[in-house]
């Protein structure tokens, strides 16, 4: 997958609004592989909706979302499953980790799908992000900042063409967010993937090639 295009797209909840001033909605927004984008938004402008549309979780929009010029509205279940396993990685704003599992198991359950990374690599990332001693701790007992780092690692244990990072560092200090950005970009570069970071204020310090205002 080489490009994601939002063609005239608009969440249904905004359908009655006439004052939409956005670089994404009701325009022709293009995201390409191997590029780095920042989507800046105020709350309530549909940032999480955008992510949900792109990974096929929600379809309550008008207009089109195109993957390589294919309208995703016609994709079936198995196509979306395949995309989520091999092409689209998503760091959810609400993380969507499993509190009953340990930090490592949360990553493992994702890695089991494709066996993309080995245990050594995963443990290295845990160490680098300063949570190496927490691998056997249940997610439910970790702070939000720690969970954010686990969610980040989970997003990287799959092959992807695009990485959607929805407010990945909202609860992280500068040092950790810098390390996280480094790991993320190294991995994305290695895969030649496009990276879309969203933010409602504090954002990762990265050399963004294009900034969209939602």
């Amino acid at each position: 997958m080489n490009s994601i295009i939002l063609q005239d797209a608009l969440p249904n909840v905004f359908a009655h609004r006439t004052d939409i001033q956005s670089d994404i909605w009701k325009t022709h927004a293009v995201f390409e592989r191997d590029h780095l984008y920042l989507v800046e938004a105020n709350s309530g402008t549909g940032k999480s909706s955008m992510c949900s549309y792109i990974i096929g979780y929600r379809h309550d929009y008008s207009g089109q979302i195109l993957f390589d010029d294919e309208d995703t509205k016609h994709y079936g279940t198995s196509k979306w499953v395949k995309l989520r396993q091999h092409s689209l990685s998503h760091i959810f704003q609400e993380l969507r980790l499993f509190p009953e599992l340990t930090a490592y198991e949360n990553v493992e359950i994702k890695n089991n799908l494709t066996k993309f990374k080995d245990k050594k690599q995963i443990l290295e990332w845990f160490d680098a992000l300063g949570i190496g001693d927490k691998i056997n701790q249940k997610i439910g007992k970790m702070s939000f900042g720690q969970r954010q780092r686990v969610a980040m690692i989970r997003a990287l244990v799959q092959p992807f063409d695009f990485l959607l990072a929805d407010e990945p560092i909202s609860h992280l200090d500068e040092t950790n967010s810098r390390i996280m950005a480094e790991i993320m970009m190294t991995e994305a570069k290695a895969q030649g993937a496009g990276v879309i970071v969203t933010s409602i204020g504090k954002h990762m310090e990265l050399p963004y090639e294009k900034v969209f205002r939602l």
């Binding site: 979780y57 499953v81 994702k110 089991n112």
Partner: protein, 399 residues
């Protein structure tokens, strides 16, 4: 898969599953037991007389003292036969045809005559006789007549005649080997043929020979005689139908009473088995309902987890599988345990049945196994579809 199971087994209610397990076990056992018991007991009633099926009645006219003196006929006219045929309960009518000439038979082993008597034969149309076609057949060239005797004759011989004459007792199997010479006289002719006992009947108190033999011999030895039947064999749709009794008693016909009993017993056995099975099925359906509610509740409680699994790339099929396997596993265990229980219960009642009907042969557990497997398959398929449906609802974000 291990991790997925670790996640999805959260909120499983052991209490609900145990409840389902015992309810379903009870229902399954009752269903299987009713079918198996019916299959096992059926031969005990039908095998008593394998030559005449149970829905046949034997009808004759009452012989009254007055009628005997005035010489009023005890035979059935064609008109009367036609009328019986026209009744709603009637599926078919056959005539008893008797020999019209003099017959004497002598029995013995290896040409030593042991018993000689005047006798007669009767026949009914072959389609009313349930003997393999090859055995129930007379050929003038071969000169061997197959015969069905009343079982009571054997009893008379074994318990009355044989001990007093110091003769050996005869079993039914040996009776088939007994030689019988049949001497026929009439119309100025005489002929001897061999007879061979092919079976014994509880229900026909006559000596039965194939229709073709009777026709041939009557033609030869008594061509002039009238062969109007004195007895009829009537096939009915339901032997327990009260209209039958009504109809025949209104016309002064007699039905051999005991011959209705086996038919009635079978009929009631069928009804009782049916009711018991229906109760078993009802319990099964209710327990199945418990299982589905329990699984639905489980899916409901784990909606968030299922949704997250789907969002990180698990397919609906993979996410459904743990719950599908759980239900199939439960159903399979219930099936196996109920078959085991059935096996023991059956051994218990078979012992009792055997003591009452020693000659009964049984068909094994096949009917119960087949029915159990069919129920298991149907229930499992519904379970699989239902779980998948629930997960797809989550996929479509409708839960």
């Amino acid at each position: 898969m291990k991790l997925v199971w670790k996640l999805l087994r959260q909120h499983i209610s052991i209490g609900q599953l145990v409840g389902f397990f015992f309810a379903n076990l009870l229902g399954m056992l009752i269903v299987l037991l009713s079918v198996q018991f019916y299959q096992d007991v059926k031969p005990a009633f039908s095998q008593e007389d394998s030559f005449i099926k149970n829905d046949y009645l034997i009808v004759s006219k009452s012989i009254s003292t007055l009628g005997g003196l005035t010489g009023s006929t005890s035979t059935f006219s064609d008109g009367e036969i036609g009328e019986i045929k026209g009744q709603t309960f009637c599926k078919g009518v056959g005539k008893f045809t008797a020999t019209q000439y003099h017959v004497s038979g002598s029995f013995g082993l290896s040409n030593q005559p042991a018993l000689s008597t005047d006798m007669f034969f009767e026949s009914v149309p072959s389609e009313f006789i349930d003997v393999q076609a090859g055995n129930w057949h007379f050929d003038e060239q071969e000169g061997i007549v197959p015969i069905i005797l009343p079982r009571s004759y054997l009893a008379i011989y074994n318990f009355g005649f044989a001990p007093s004459q110091s003769l050996p007792k005869i079993t039914e199997d040996v009776a088939g080997m007994v030689e019988m010479n049949i001497a026929m006289r009439g119309n100025g002719q005489q002929q001897i043929v061999k007879g061979k006992v092919v079976g014994f009947s509880n229900r026909l108190n006559t000596i039965l020979a194939p229709e073709e033999f009777i026709q041939w011999s009557n033609q030869k030895f008594a061509p002039e005689e009238d062969d109007s039947p004195t007895r009829l064999i009537v096939q009915v749709k339901n032997p327990a139908d009260e209209k039958i009794m009504q109809y025949f008693s209104e016309r002064g016909y007699e039905i051999a009473e005991d011959k209705l009993d086996a038919g009635k017993t079978m009929f009631f056995l069928r009804i009782v088995s049916g009711i018991v099975m229906a109760i078993g099925l009802l319990i099964s359906v209710l327990s199945f309902y418990i299982l589905m509610l329990s699984i639905y509740l489980l899916v409901q409680k784990n909606t968030q987890k299922l949704q997250n699994l789907l969002l990180i790339g698990y397919s609906p099929a993979k996410v459904s599988m743990p719950y599908q396997l759980l239900t199939i596993g439960m159903n399979a265990i219930v099936l196996i345990i109920s078959l085991l229980l059935l096996y023991y219960v059956r051994n218990y009642y078979l012992d009792m049945l055997w003591s009452v009907f020693p000659e009964m042969d049984t068909s094994g557990l096949t009917p119960a196994i087949l029915l159990g497997a069919a129920l298991f398959a149907v229930v499992s398929i519904i379970n699989i579809i239902a779980v998948r449906g629930k997960v797809m609802k989550i996929w479509k974000n409708k839960e």
